[in-house]
C-alpha cells in the first residue's frame, strides 16, 4: 500500500467517524458530548502500545489482521446501514428517497462511487479525503456557529435527560469503527506514528464534540422527536433568515458517506491483500460486496421495518365496518371505521401510527355482519393465525373496551376444554359455515 501522511489519515478516519455520528439515532446531551470526548481520549491511551509498536516497525500477526478485516467489513456494513436508514430523511430528492427502491438506488449509487474511489488507490482516496474533510469542517463550523444563538443555550439543560456521560462513552466506542481502520492503516503512515495518532484522536475528539453540541443546541428542545439528531440539527439550523439551507447538508452527507465507505472498503481490501497475498484483483469489489451483505444483516433491508416499530393485535372486534383492536404491547384500544374490514384496518394503522400486524391475533369478536366474508378476508388478506378463536357479541367494541381480552380469551379456552363450548378456531368456524 502506498504511504499516506498524518493529516490524510486523520481526514479519512474523521470523515468516517462524523458520518457515523450523522447516522446515530439516539438522544444526545452535553453529558454525551463530554462522555464522547472522554471515550475518544480513552481510546487514544488504549492504542498507544500499538502505535509505539508500529513506530518500531513491528507488524500485526495475520490472525489479528484477519479479525480486523472481519471487523472492518462489519463496520462497513454498519455505515451502509446508517446510510440506508437515513436515506429517506435526508434531502435526496424527496420523490426518489422513500421506499425500498429509493433507498436501494441511493445506497447503490453511494457504494458504486465509493468503489470507484477505492479503485483509484489509497493515495487518491487520502488526498481527496483531505479536501473533503476541509470542506466538511467549513460546513460544520457554519452549522455550529449558527447554532450558537443565545436563544439556543436553554436547550443544553432541556436535553440533559436525553443522554448521559455513559451514553457518550458507549457512543465513542460504538461509532468508532474507524478505530479498526486506524490500526490497520497505521503502518502506511509516513513519519511518526505517534504524531499521526495524536492528530487523529485530537481532530476526532474536537469535531465529534462540536457536532454533538451543535445537535444539542439546535434540537435540544425537541430531541425526543428527532430520529437522527445530527441530521436534524443541520436541517433546522438557519444561518440565513430568508431561506432554508438544509438541502445543502445533503452535499456533506453524501460526500462523507462516500468517503466513509471508501475508507472501509480500501482498508478491507488492504487487509485482504496482506492476509492472502495472491488475492490481488477484485479485492475492493469483494470488500464492498461483503459490506453490503453485512448491511443486509444489520438493517434487514428487505423487511418493511424494525420489529419494534409495529403493533401486534391481540384481540380484534368488528361489525364489518368498524374494527376495535387491543394489542400485546400497547395499552391503547383503537377503534377505526371503513367501508369494509380491510379499509377499517388500514384506517386503524393510521390511528396507531405504525403498521398493524394481525398474524398473532388470538381472539376475534364478530358482531352483526357478513361473518363468513369477514372471516375469509381476515384469513386470506390479513393472515390471522389458524388457531385464532372466534366468538360472537352484539357489541364487539363495548366487549373489548370493557373486558380484559386476556380474561375473555382464557374463559373461552377453558369452556372449550371442558366441552361447554364448541371448538371455535377460525378454520373450524369457517368450515362449519361452509356446511
Amino acid at each position: 500500500m502506498n504511504s499516506i501522511t498524518s493529516p490524510q489519515l486523520a481526514a479519512m478516519l474523521v470523515i468516517s467517524d462524523l458520518f457515523a455520528l450523522m447516522c446515530y439515532n439516539g438522544g444526545l446531551s452535553a453529558y454525551t458530548a463530554v462522555g464522547l470526548a472522554f471515550g475518544i481520549g480513552l481510546q487514544y491511551v488504549m492504542v498507544m502500545p500499538l502505535v509505539k509498536a508500529a513506530d518500531k516497525g513491528k507488524t500485526l500477526p495475520k490472525s489479528v489482521k484477519f479479525l480486523l478485516a472481519v471487523g472492518i467489513v462489519l463496520w462497513g456494513g454498519a455505515l451502509l446501514g446508517g446510510l440506508w436508514k437515513a436515506a429517506d430523511i435526508t434531502f435526496v430528492p424527496y420523490e426518489n428517497a422513500g421506499g425500498f427502491l429509493g433507498k436501494l438506488e441511493i445506497t447503490a449509487m453511494v457504494a458504486a462511487v465509493s468503489l470507484y474511489v477505492a479503485y483509484e488507490g489509497t493515495k487518491a482516496a487520502a488526498r481527496s479525503s483531505l479536501i473533503a474533510a476541509f470542506t466538511g469542517v467549513i460546513f460544520l463550523l457554519t452549522d455550529f456557529i449558527s447554532g450558537m444563538r443565545p436563544s439556543n443555550f436553554g436547550n443544553i439543560s432541556l436535553s440533559a435527560q436525553y443522554g448521559t456521560f455513559m451514553d457518550g462513552l458507549r457512543l465513542s466506542f460504538l461509532s468508532g469503527g474507524s478505530l479498526i481502520a486506524f490500526i490497520a492503516l497505521l503502518p502506511c503512515v509516513k513519519g511518526s506514528k505517534n504524531k499521526a495518532a495524536a492528530m487523529y484522536f485530537l481532530c476526532r475528539g474536537i469535531l465529534s464534540a462540536a457536532v454533538v453540541m451543535t445537535a444539542v443546541l439546535v434540537t435540544g428542545g425537541i430531541m425526543d422527536t428527532a430520529d437522527f439528531p445530527v441530521i436534524m440539527s443541520a436541517q433546522l439550523s438557519q444561518p440565513f433568515s430568508s431561506q432554508r439551507i438544509d438541502a445543502l447538508f445533503l452535499i456533506l452527507f453524501a460526500v462523507f458517506g462516500v468517503f466513509a465507505i471508501t475508507v472501509q472498503v480500501m482498508t478491507a481490501a488492504f487487509l485482504a491483500g496482506e492476509i492472502f497475498s495472491r488475492f490481488r484483483r477484485w479485492r475492493c469489489t469483494a470488500a464492498i460486496a461483503l459490506s453490503l451483505l453485512a448491511m443486509g444483516l444489520f438493517t434487514g433491508c428487505t423487511s418493511t421495518g424494525q420489529v419494534s416499530d409495529k403493533s401486534y393485535v391481540r384481540c380484534l372486534g368488528t361489525d364489518g365496518k368498524t374494527v376495535t383492536l387491543s394489542f400485546f404491547s400497547d395499552e391503547r384500544i383503537i377503534t377505526a371505521e371503513g367501508e369494509d374490514i380491510s379499509s377499517a384496518l388500514a384506517e386503524a394503522e393510521i390511528t396507531a401510527g405504525r403498521p398493524v400486524v394481525t398474524g398473532f391475533t388470538e381472539l376475534m369478536i364478530l358482531g352483526d355482519c357478513d361473518r363468513k366474508a369477514v372471516l375469509e378476508d381476515m384469513l386470506k388478506e390479513w393472515k390471522v393465525s389458524p388457531s385464532c378463536m372466534v366468538m360472537y357479541s352484539g357489541d364487539p367494541e363495548f366487549t373489548i373496551k370493557n373486558t380484559d381480552p386476556s380474561l375473555l380469551e382464557g374463559r373461552l379456552k377453558e369452556a372449550v376444554r371442558q366441552g361447554k363450548a364448541p371448538r371455535c378456531d377460525i378454520v373450524t368456524v369457517l368450515g362449519n359455515m361452509q356446511e
Binding site: 434531502f91 470507484y116 493515495k123 487518491a124 481527496s128 479536501i131 438544509d246 445533503l250
Partner: protein, 478 residues
Amino acid sequence: MHGLETSLEKSIDKIKRISGGSSDVLVNRFVTGGISCALICCDGMASSSVMSELIFEPITGISAKNDAPELFHHISGELLLSVDRPEVRDYPTLFRLIHSGFAVLLAEGMDYGLGFGVQGYASRGVQEPSGEGNIMGAHEGFTETVRTNMSQLRRRLKSPELVMEMMIKGSKSNTDICLCYMKDRVPPALMERIRRSLDRTDLEAVLTTGYLRPFTEEKRYRIFNTTGTTERPDVLCSKLIEGRVAILVDGIPYAIVIPRLFCENFQTLDDYAYKPYYAVFIRWLKYSAFLLAVFLPALYTAIVMYHPELLNSTLLMILVDAEKEAPLSILTEALFVLLMYEIIREAGVRLPKPTGGAVSIISGLIIGDAAVKSGLVSTPLLTVTALAVLGGLVVPDIAPQITVLRFLFLLAGGMFGLFGISLLSCAVLANVCASENYGFPYTAPFSPFKASGMADTAVREGMEKLQSRGFTVEEYHE
C-alpha cells in the same frame, strides 16, 4: 541502410534511388583540389546565397591535393565554412540533414561526408502569442522553428545550468525534439525517466504536442492533463527555474512542460507584475470562475427542480414566472443552451476569420434573442449559462475539461439533484487527486497539503518573500 560508398558515383546513384528521384534533392557536382566532389542539398531548405558565399567560393578555390582525405582534412581544419559541421557516415543521417537545411559534401574516395548548416527555409518570425494573453510581460511567443525557440530561452536564461538536449522522433518526419532543463534543479533520475518515456515513442510523425504528451503522462485515464503547454518563452523560463522539464518540438510553437499542477491553471506571469493584493484577488476570481463554470448550470437545475426551498421566496417567484412559459424541462433547456453555445464556439474556431463575424451576429442576435423571445429558453437560465461559459473562458488551459464536466454535472444535477452533484464531485475529486506525473501529485500543494506552497497558490506573497523561498517543484515530489 548502410554506410556511404567510397565511390562518388555509387553514392549519388544510391541517393537518387533512395529519394526516388525526388526533384527537390539537388546534386551539384564539381571538382576541387583535383578531386571530384558533389554537394547535396534540398531545394527550399538551404539558402542558396549562403551556400555560394560560404561554401562554393572557399571550396572551389582550394589548391590541388593528393587525395580526398587530405582535401577533407584541409576543409575541416583550415576552412570555417559554417558553425554546425556534422560528419555524415550513413544515408539516413545524410537525408535527415539535407531535409533539415544542411548541405552535405561528398568526395570521390571518401566513405563519409561533411555537413554544413546553411538553413534557409521560410519560417514565421517571432510574434505575440495568440492564446496566452499577457499585459505586463514580454510580447514574444514561440515560433515553429525549434532553434529559434531555443535561442529565445537562452536569451532569457544565460546560465550554463540550462541544458538543451536534441533528439529526433518520428520515423518518417525525423522531427527535431529539444529536451530543456536546469541541471541543478532537476534530479538526474527524473530526467532518465523522462528520456525513457520518450524512447517508448514509435511514432511516424510528430505534428502537434498531442503526439508526445500521452507518452509523458500516466497511462490510466485522467480527466486533467498532467503535462502542460505554453507558447511563451518567459513562462517556460519560469517553469524551468522551478525545476520543471520542457520539450520543444520543431514545427510546433508550443513547449510541453513536465509536470503540470492543477494550481498552475490559475497562475499567469501577470500575477507577479501586479501588487500582491490585486494578484490574490485575481487568483481567487479565477478559482471562483472555475467553480462557477463547472457547477453553476448544474446547481441551478438541481435547486430549481428538486430543492427550491434553498431560494428565498422573491427569487423563487421570479424563476417560477420565467419558467412558466418555457415548454421544455429545465434540464432539457439547459442542455439545449449549452449545446447551442458549443456549436457556435466550434463554428467560430474553425471558420475563416471574415465568416466568424457573421457567426457572432447570427448566434448572438438571431438565435439568442429569438430563443428567449419565443419562450424556448428562459432568461434566468440563459443568464446562468452565459455566466458559466464566461467563467470557463477565464481558465482557458482547462477549457475542454470544464466543458465536459459542466455537461456531466448538469446531467447529475438534473437527474438526482444535489445528491447526484455530490456523488459526481466525489468521483471527479478522486480522479483529480489520483493524477500524478513522475511522482508529482497534480493537486499539490492543496493535497498533499504543503503549507509553504500556499505562498504562491492560495495567495501571492511579495517577491521578496518568494525569492527567499527558493521554490522548486521537487518539494511536491512523493
